[in-house]
Amino acid sequence: MFDVIFLQFLNGLDKGAAYALIALGLTLVFGTLGVVNFAHGALFMLGAFCAVTVRMLLTMETVTIDPEQLSPWGSPLEIREPLVQAWLGDFGAVLVNYSVPLSILITIPIMLLVGIALERGIIKHFYKRPHAEQILVTFGLAIVAQEVIKSVFGPNPIPQPMPTDLRGAADIGAFLGMQANIITYPIWRLIYFVFAAVVIGGVFAFLQFTTFGMVVRAGMADRETVGLLGINIDRRFTIMFGLAAVVAGMAGVMYTPLLPPNYHLGMDFLVLSFVVVVVGGMGSLPGAVAAGFLLGILQSFASMNQVKAIVPGIDQIIIYLVAVIILLVRPRGLFGRRGVMEA
């Protein structure tokens, strides 16, 4: 029994990690700028499509048709020559193989730019306007982003292979001293979890141990006073928006091998991660992370057959059910501070 429960716990981790990463970015934006960003899921999707683009560029090939030779189907043979391999040899093959993790390097600057442009271009004008209007404008932006992606990449999911060395499963049970082959877990999911933990740890360390982070935390607590001290808090908050976009983008890149991205990936995750943020408590970073993992794991337990036999359909609604109960019983969420958006 223990191994079944442990396995479900592990299964919940990777989804929980994705929720936690998106919710972390949402909370960063809400905590600093006070903006409810419905376009955050779109940033996750944009990150995923950065990975798609990188792979497309790396696997570009020249096609020459050789009329002399015939393919087994009788048509003239097409000779495809991958460009990157042609230029770089084996190193090119390695690049293609590791395209997903490599695209993080390109995603970071792109998402930083996208985030800063979004904040300076549009969201800046919405600080003083009601939350309803912030929701509406970011919701509109999310539609625009997903439609642009749809018209460029088409409506179908585009699978992204993971690097060949990282396929397969790790025998965690044996590692922990149990019998072999009872608890096996796909390596990439493990990597995703570790990656999420590193990113989350990085964001917390950045806020906790750097001067920049200290100023941002001070600004989150009392924006006006920090402004009165002569610190340009707006600029720092803009950078935090960019950082939130980067976190969402990286989460999207690393998630592509687990779920082939398509244009409504962002919307699918957005609703859930908003629920996560609310459960964790608006504006609380630890709350967002904890609630992300909690809901991911709960969802994985709810999809066990034993549980479904007791409460049919629970796997479909568990997250929303938990959110409704938490909001009604404890309005500021699990970790929310007193008085922040409490109503």
Binding site: E133, G140, V144, S151, M267, V275, V324, L327, M341
Partner: protein, 378 residues
């Protein structure tokens, strides 16, 4: 009548009725004068008017209204299946069921306000949607959607000895509701819905709702318990959504879960905002415009565009076709998203605010500056 409604209200109502009833005539030159589309205009008009009673008057932004729309559809189809093919019982049944549903959900959601209320309604709507697809399949028929079959019991019809030959279709007292009959049936309901919304907005109850929007805390300090008022608004607006869903089931007796998805809830929000939130006529105009352009733009394709741009030199025409092609056909949602973003940024009051601004400009130019500027209802 004059002591019930002010002269302006009466004029607005009469004008609205006239515009709606003559729609088949004046919309014909725009390529929209056919009953199928006009019925949709009516149905989504009702949906938007109802949504505005909640969002426009009380300021509570619900992101789960499609759930009531879907419940209305399902209830109406079940009434067709179990009771009778007549439309009136189906509509009554749907409105009652969706009202009860809204009562339960509203009671829970209205314990919170602001963003929490939005998330709660969203959570409930998503739960209904997911359940309709999975566990509730015996009621909703899952992905296939609920539809009428020849073997339905239809107990009332059976008692009255009516039987149908061929595919069963909803009717009204034995008259089929296809084509323009269906349009006028829906139009009657839209006019009724508009009239009720107008009466609500002008009544003391409507004043209460507007007061909730402008300052709920102050209301409570003055000694009002605001929740029953907000809950009534929520239930009324849920019933409007149920009515719209039932009418959609009357014109097309096939109910599917995708009507409850949160993007459908988002659509009614778009309609209301685009037209002008808090105004009576705005949401209806928003619904009409969105449905009209959805229909027109998604039918365009590259050949039609090429003909349209053919006056340009060849290269330029091709470029224009390529560019505009992204915004029509499948890409029409992109246009909608862009328009919506622009409206929220520059014209938060929607089209009605635009009309008011232009009217104000003309009034100022003519010199007679009225001291009282009409304020948006908030």
């Amino acid at each position: 009548m004059t002591n019930l409604m002010s002269r302006n209200d009466l004029l607005l109502f009469a004008g609205f009725t006239l515009v709606v009833l003559t729609m088949p005539i004046w919309l014909a030159p725009f390529g929209a004068g056919y009953p199928d589309l006009l019925q949709r205009f009516m149905i989504f008009g009702i949906f938007a008017v109802g949504f505005n009673i909640l969002f426009g008057l009380t300021g509570y932004l619900s992101f789960g209204h499609a759930a009531f729309f879907g419940v209305g559809s399902y209830a109406a189809v079940w009434s067709f299946k179990l009771l009778t093919l007549d439309a009136i019982p189906a509509i009554l049944f749907a409105v009652i069921i969706s009202g009860l549903f809204a009562l339960v959900i509203g009671y829970l959601c209205l314990r919170r306000s602001g963003i929490y209320f939005s998330i709660l309604t969203l959570a409930f709507a998503q739960m209904s949607y997911n359940l309709a697809y999975s566990v509730l399949t015996p009621i909703t028929n899952g992905e296939t959607g609920l539809q009428l079959t020849l073997n339905d019991p239809r107990s009332l019809d059976a008692v009255l000895g009516q039987s149908v030959a061929g595919q069963p279709v909803p009717n009204l007292l034995g008259q089929p509701l296809s084509g323009y009959a269906g349009f006028y049936f829906c139009a009657g309901f839209l006019i009724l819905a508009f009239f009720l919304a107008q009466r609500i907005a002008g009544s003391p109850f409507g004043m209460m709702l507007k007061a909730i929007k402008s300052n709920q805390t102050r209301m409570q300090f003055t000694g009002f318990n605001t929740r029953p008022y907000a809950l009534s608004a929520f239930v009324i607006s849920g019933m409007y959504a149920g009515l719209a869903g039932a009418l959609l089931a009357v014109t097309d007796p096939l109910a599917g879960a995708e009507r409850m998805q949160w993007t459908a809830s988002g659509e009614v929000v778009l309609m209301t905002i685009l037209g002008g939130v808090g105004t009576l006529i705005g949401p209806v105009i928003g619904a009409w415009l969105i449905k009209y352009f959805e229909n027109i733009l998604s039918a365009l394709n590259d050949q039609i565009l090429a003909r349209f741009w053919s006056f340009l030199p060849d290269g330029a025409a091709d470029t224009m076709v390529a560019i505009t092609g992204k915004f029509v056909g499948d890409g029409w949602f992109l246009t909608l998203g862009l328009v919506f973003v622009i409206v929220v940024i520059f014209l938060p009051g929607g089209i009605m605010e635009g009309v008011r601004r232009i009217a104000g400009m003309f009034r100022r130019r003519s010199g007679s500056s009225p001291a009282t500027r009409t304020q948006p209802a908030e």
